[in-house]
């Protein structure tokens, strides 16, 4: 428990995003985005990420997420990644008792239903990595009514920054250790069950590790 707490403290210190605010569009919660590292395009938008133990997460938010996932409880030390981005916000946490990972997703609007979340996903982990991006797009929409897809992207071990280009702009995500990054995209496939985006991964200093087009689809 002490080791977990120490690791959490270090990680929280590392990934608590408190950088300068950028001047571009607002994030989904109405706050100003942070300023991405200078090597990114000046129009790129950077969201916020916070990694902290479950006990420190806003209780109502976490409880509603757990209810959606039908989880009675999670250990207080479970590390939860909270992200607030341009089109969505999410909670992601691994289950320390099973090789599973959970997400709750929220966008500016939902097609139906009340509550803070427009969807939730359960992913399986194999060798610590998600076996499927668990695309969630059925119920999440942005302020203009466009479908918003959420998906996990697995960062490389040395990745610090991810850039997602869905044709509607570039959003920059800071990784939280090796926890899969819950990203959003609004570029839907014709079949309305997939989404495509450009994915670029960078080291902390801006070294490019990966640059490719990705299409992910709803499954299960």
């Amino acid at each position: 428990v002490l080791a977990l707490a120490a690791a959490a403290a270090v990680l929280v210190a590392v990934v608590r995003d408190g950088g300068d605010e950028g001047a571009a569009s607002r994030l989904v919660d109405g706050s100003l985005p942070l300023r991405p590292p200078e090597w990114f395009d000046r129009n790129a938008v950077r969201g916020r990420v916070l990694l902290r133990p479950a006990a420190k997460v806003e209780p109502r938010r976490l409880r509603s997420c757990m209810r959606l996932l039908r989880l009675d409880s999670i250990p207080r030390q479970t590390l939860v990644v909270e992200r607030v981005g341009l089109r969505g916000r999410s909670l992601t946490f691994r289950d320390p008792r099973a090789p599973q990972i959970y997400a709750c997703d929220a966008s500016a609007g939902t097609r139906e239903g009340a509550g803070p979340w427009c969807g939730a996903s359960v992913g399986r982990l194999r060798a610590g990595a998600v076996t499927d991006p668990r695309v969630d797009l059925a119920n999440c929409v942005d302020a203009s009514g466009r479908a918003v897809a959420f998906a996990w992207v697995e960062p490389r071990p040395t990745t610090t920054w991810l850039a997602i280009d869905d044709g509607d702009g570039v959003e920059v995500y800071r990784t939280a250790g090796t926890v899969p990054v819950r990203i959003t995209s609004v570029d839907m496939g014709d079949d309305a069950s997939s989404t495509s985006f450009g994915l670029t991964q960078y080291t902390a200093e801006g070294g490019r590790l990966d640059d490719r087009d990705v299409t992910v689809a709803v499954a299960g």
């Binding site: 959606l68 996932l69 039908r70 097609r111 139906e112 239903g113 969807g119 939730a120 996903s121 359960v122 399986r124 076996t131 499927d132 668990r134 695309v135 969630d136 797009l137 059925a138 119920n139 014709d190 079949d191 309305a192 069950s193 992910v216 689809a217 709803v218 499954a219 299960g220």
Partner: protein
């Protein structure tokens, strides 16, 4: 003696080659070789019996994570694909893709209408099993498990199957895309008594 050794060595090499070729060829590309992306046909009259017919055509076929395309030859044409890999392009639907197609739903979640998807039309639809369980989508509603009838569904966060028939002991015969190792078929299941599962009903049946 030398001949036997030579034969054995040849056999082992041949076997190794066969096994490695087989392992590399798990990717049958059933989708690429057989499936299409044709439009669905709207249907103004659709019934539970009709959806049973759609479901039974998929019986004995394969299972593909993220999939939604199958033929009707009663054989899994892509057996043994790696599980939970949506890129293996094998035959079959997964549980939610199968349900979407059998329930003849629209890719637009606000559309309650019914659409006939050809079995060789590759389509999964926008809903994962958790979406169905939550009643996401205009055609889908959560429904009390006690009142479920044939072609209603039982869904959890990770799986969904449709009621084909109810058994006398309270269990159900469920038509479902069960998994890579099982394919798509009808099995007796106890989802109705499992608290992880909730009832789901597709709205709009004519009969």
């Amino acid at each position: 003696m030398r001949g036997r050794v030579l034969f054995a060595a040849t056999f082992v090499v041949a076997l190794a080659l066969t096994v490695s070729t087989g392992a590399a060829a798990y990717h049958t590309n059933f989708v690429g070789n057989n499936c299409n992306y044709n439009d669905a046909t709207p249907t103004s009259y659709f019934t539970r019996d009709g959806s049973i017919t759609v479901a039974l055509r998929a019986r004995w076929e394969g299972y593909q994570w993220g999939g939604g395309c199958w033929n009707d030859d009663d054989v899994d044409n892509s057996p043994g694909d790696p599980t939970q890999d949506p890129n293996t392009r094998g035959e079959g639907g997964d549980c939610s893709g199968f349900t979407f197609k059998v329930w003849r739903e629209s890719v637009h979640t606000s559309d309650k209408g019914a659409y006939q998807w050809n079995m060789l039309r590759f389509i999964h639809g926008p809903y994962a099993s958790g979406d169905f369980k939550a009643g996401v989508g205009a055609p889908n509603v959560t429904y009390g498990k006690v009142g479920l009838i044939r072609m209603d569904a039982l869904a959890s966060a990770s799986h969904i199957g449709m009621v084909y028939a109810r058994n006398a002991d309270g269990s159900d015969q469920i038509v479902e895309a069960k998994g890579e190792a099982y394919g798509t078929n009808i099995w007796t299941r106890t989802y109705r008594g499992n608290s992880d599962y909730g009832g789901v009903r597709r709205l709009g049946w004519d009969a």
